[in-house]
Symmetry: C2
Subunit: 580 residues, 2 copies
């Protein structure tokens, strides 16, 4: 047995790059990418990737392991770069477009990006980031760092002429060679992508994916979601989130069609669904609100069910039910950047179809079961690393192991070592395992509220608050309490249609939850403070909660704590996702 050696015929590095080569051969004339008035076939997309990869190598001197960064919305160029950059042997770094110039400069410096692609819309933001990088106003280290080459991605449908320097994406494509096959992947452990976490509590960390991990995650997700061939995938989820939860690569694997949109408004999404007969889309549950609160004239007729994979936050049962009634079929997933996107999928069981709707919604809100390429998922007592019983009650830290987990954090041995513990990746999330083996998140470790020795899950409280007919957003944090140590403090934003008082909400809580769980304080606010990536800033809420405890009479000016207040607009709602 042992004498049989690996050969190039029977041991080929696993990489998502095989998906596009395959698509170019067998789905050659199928539509690969649609964006506004432009569309491509798989043959064309592949040739554009070959050209770009060639141009990166020959015109821009990109070599193996170089980082190629990009700041762009879901346009065809960003899709193509998911293949072209690794085909050039380089590592794709898709930057979150909601970040401010300072954060972007930090990422460019830390990743040592050799090239930076900028969508025309983000030229002002990128210019400011480059200025910070150049002047070193950030940390004074600019002298040691070479500036990235800048290439503007003009709009491929309606070119604007906006430039920053002389290079433009389509010109680069023209310089390339469509016959260039790309560099061989020498080792499937080689890096393919670099994604920065948003870092609510610390500096952003650079999560590195291997070709192997990306390939396996992609396989698992098209599997776990049962995404068939000829899927029409709407890009409502930003591709910069874990490479679009791997569906950048996955749509190529299935020979599907990518429907790219620049803005994720209700109108744009409904229009795309109707026009292109969308079958699949991913989004955070907060997008459900956008889709449900659309204006009647913005809604187009959906001809068939649209499958939604949602994650990032447990979808409130009430929202799930409303969405299903509208004709969406929702699957809930859980994951995190470090796990190459979704790591668990709430796999539906036929027998659940017979349950009442609200019970179904509760089951669907659970995080579910590990995807097929994860070697194992467990919930463990963090101190003893012993597995919790499958009782749906005992909480522990959710831990994962498998080849779809990141390689580690770039240039951060300390954080990498902290993340990997005794053969497991620690998610930092707290959950339980139900008797049927399905996992349910109860909280982020740091978001657990310990009141009088009882663990209170802020997620659980938020989920109950969400069910209140007038509540749009809710977040619960710990507030210092002289007697109980900590007690829950709730922040809620109301729907435009409804009015409610703090005492009415407290009454509601008393009816719906155990006494010890009832928030000691409910603050009604206009909108919850969020990070540039749209995550609720619990750190800020905790500060406010602390001040509330000291002086209950002063209403906090929480608006001033807002991060990037000027950038908040509808689209931010898209990204209010806790982990993905």
């Amino acid at each position: 047995m042992d004498k049989l050696a690996k050969s190039p015929a029977n041991y080929v590095p696993l990489t998502p790059l095989t998906f596009i080569k395959r698509a170019s051969k067998i789905y050659s004339d199928r539509t690969s990418v649609i964006y506004a008035g432009v569309s491509f076939t798989w043959r064309q997309t592949y040739h554009r990737c070959c050209r770009l990869a060639y141009a990166l190598r020959s015109c821009l001197n990109v070599v193996k392991n170089d980082v190629v960064s990009v700041l762009a919305p879901n346009v065809p160029a960003l899709y193509e770069m998911h293949f072209a950059v690794p085909m050039a042997g380089a590592v794709l770094n898709a930057i979150n477009t909601r970040l401010d110039a300072k954060n972007i400069a930090t990422i460019l410096r830390h990743s040592e990006a050799k090239v930076l692609f900028i969508d025309y819309q983000y030229v002002p933001l990128a210019s400011e980031a480059l200025r910070l990088l150049l002047t070193g106003s950030n940390d004074g280290n600019s002298a040691q760092y070479a500036m990235p080459l800048v290439i503007v991605i003009d709009d491929v449908d309606k070119p604007t002429g906006v430039r920053l320097g002389s290079l433009e994406y389509e010109q680069l494509i023209l310089h390339g060679d469509p016959r260039y096959p790309g560099e061989d992947v020498e080792d499937e452990w080689d890096a393919i992508a670099l994604n920065y976490t948003s870092g609510t509590t610390s500096e952003p960390k650079g999560v590195v994916y291997s070709h192997r991990g990306a390939f396996l995650s992609t396989m698992s997700l098209i599997q776990g979601w049962e995404m068939g061939t000829e899927a029409v995938y709407l890009w409502s989820l930003p591709m910069f989130h874990c490479n679009g939860w791997t569906f950048t690569w996955g749509v190529a694997a299935r020979g599907g069609t990518n429907v790219c949109i620049r803005n994720t408004t209700a109108k744009e999404m409904y229009k795309s669904m109707s026009q292109h007969k969308v079958t699949h889309m991913c989004c955070a549950p907060i997008v459900f609100n956008i889709l449900l609160e659309d204006k009647p004239h913005e809604r187009y007729k959906m001809e068939s069910k649209v499958n939604i994979l949602t994650g990032g936050a447990p979808p409130p049962a009430a929202l799930l039910e409303k969405m299903e009634n509208l004709g969406f079929h929702i699957t809930h997933a859980y994951g995190l950047t470090e796990a190459t996107g979704p790591a668990l999928v709430c796999e539906w069981q036929t027998k659940w179809n017979q349950l009442p709707k609200h019970r179904q919604a509760n089951l669907k809100a659970r995080q579910g079961v590990g995807i097929l390429t994860l070697a194992d998922v467990d919930v463990k007592n963090k101190k003893t690393m012993e597995s919790v019983p499958h009782d749906g009650v005992t909480m522990g830290e959710i831990v994962l192991r498998g080849s779809s987990i990141m390689k580690g954090y770039l240039k951060d041995e300390k954080e990498t070592a902290k993340a990997f513990h005794k053969g497991w990746f620690l998610t930092g999330d707290v959950g339980v395992i139900h008797p049927d083996g399905y996992l349910e998140i109860k909280d982020r470790s740091k978001d657990v509220i310990i009141s009088g020795g009882e663990n209170i899950s802020s997620v659980e409280l938020e989920s109950i608050l969400f069910k209140h007919p007038n509540i749009l957003e809710a977040a619960v944090v710990a507030m210092p309490h002289p007697k109980w140590g900590e007690s829950p403090c709730a922040f809620v934003a109301l729907k435009t249609s409804g009015t409610t008082t703090e005492s009415e909400i407290l009454d509601y809580c008393r009816r719906k939850m155990s006494k010890f769980m009832v928030p000691k304080k409910v603050e009604i606010v206009k909108e919850l403070p969020k990070t540039g990536t749209g995550k609720v800033q619990k750190v800020e809420l905790r500060k406010i909660a602390k001040s509330l405890q000291i002086s209950n009479n002063t209403s906090p000016n929480y608006q001033q704590t807002r991060y990037q207040q000027d950038e908040v607009h509808d689209q931010d709602k898209l990204h209010a996702i806790s982990r993905l």
Copy 2:
């Protein structure tokens, strides 16, 4: 990038063993295996596997890389051994039950099997094989070889008491420990299974699979066939054929139900489909005849469509159409033992639904496109190793590369080296690539008939002959010809219902094919000669054809050339598969 090292959390060997551990956790109460009056849940099946693995290690002293052979029909024990044997660190060798004692003895000797499990039904055959092994009557080498430990698998539903020695499967299970977690897979390149090719032209070769290859093939096939969760899989395909085309592992991956049957008669199959609401089954096209020619009282009502994955021989268009009319949905795959079963799947395209039925059937009869875990599939000129144009006409050898290709042939460096050529695995099959990228087999290399410099595909001729209303089986081989070098000679077996003469068939051929392709000779026979695995013995037919050429007036007594004539019965039809 390069500094990020592998750790047990993010680099876990790929193995199908993760599928059953996962199934035991999340599908624990679902039915895993049904056989006659017996059924198990996934928790039970897993625990039985743990017990067996433990017993193999502790009672039978099995150690890493030991070969554990088994001679059994599709009973639960054979299914369980697909997990239990590798859990013990050993290599599963499921032997084709249609082989004769001499061949079985050869396999036991060559594989150095340490343990041999024998289904009670095969005790006489196995006894004879063991006798040959012991007396060395085969090649006189017995002295160098230790006899395998023998364990009888009695019928789990209705125990018969048949024994060969003292050990019995269920007793072994009882001796095991359900908490034994199995040996760790240290390296995904380690062997998991050993499957012998049937060797129509040479000695059987031992094809070795790695855990990695088995994992990846399984992932691809449940994907390529779009097998959803909760599938009910009927074991009409023997598990000893490439480990049931990987569905032994695949059904566990999807949390499906295995319906095991001992006999693949029409009655048994229809009854299982109806009783257990079967959703999926695999078989060779020859099984279509069994299902179509059933007696009316044997047919049970099928409540919903049954998906069939077929392969081994291109399914004749006429048969496909009849089967679809009966309520079967057929997907065609192509593969071979060396590729861990199916390597290409004829992925259906929605637009084809609008074509006329016969055109659809022709498209479906093509071998299709590479599965997702194959790095590449191509058709190449064997001399130059250049790819043929995608014109549907130019023939070349079908070549594959990827991690689902076998490790190699056990203890056969020469054949292994021959199979791997310039980074490709040579299938020995001849095909074309159509403009849409779909591949179609034209012939086995050695089955191409070269007549007057023209390549004639015997498969193509057979396919035309199959369409004749009175023809049940057809095989075409080369016959020496004084003028053309070679010319086609057809052997046909007629349906019980029909009568036809040679000249009528020749007339039919003249109407349906190019002149140079028309067989120079048509022999009507009662049944085609087949190997123990049911493959048509073209070697034998060639001998007959040669004699026909010399003396056209002597009708050959082809029955005497038959291999294992006494073993031929209905079930053999199941295995008349050219490659899988």
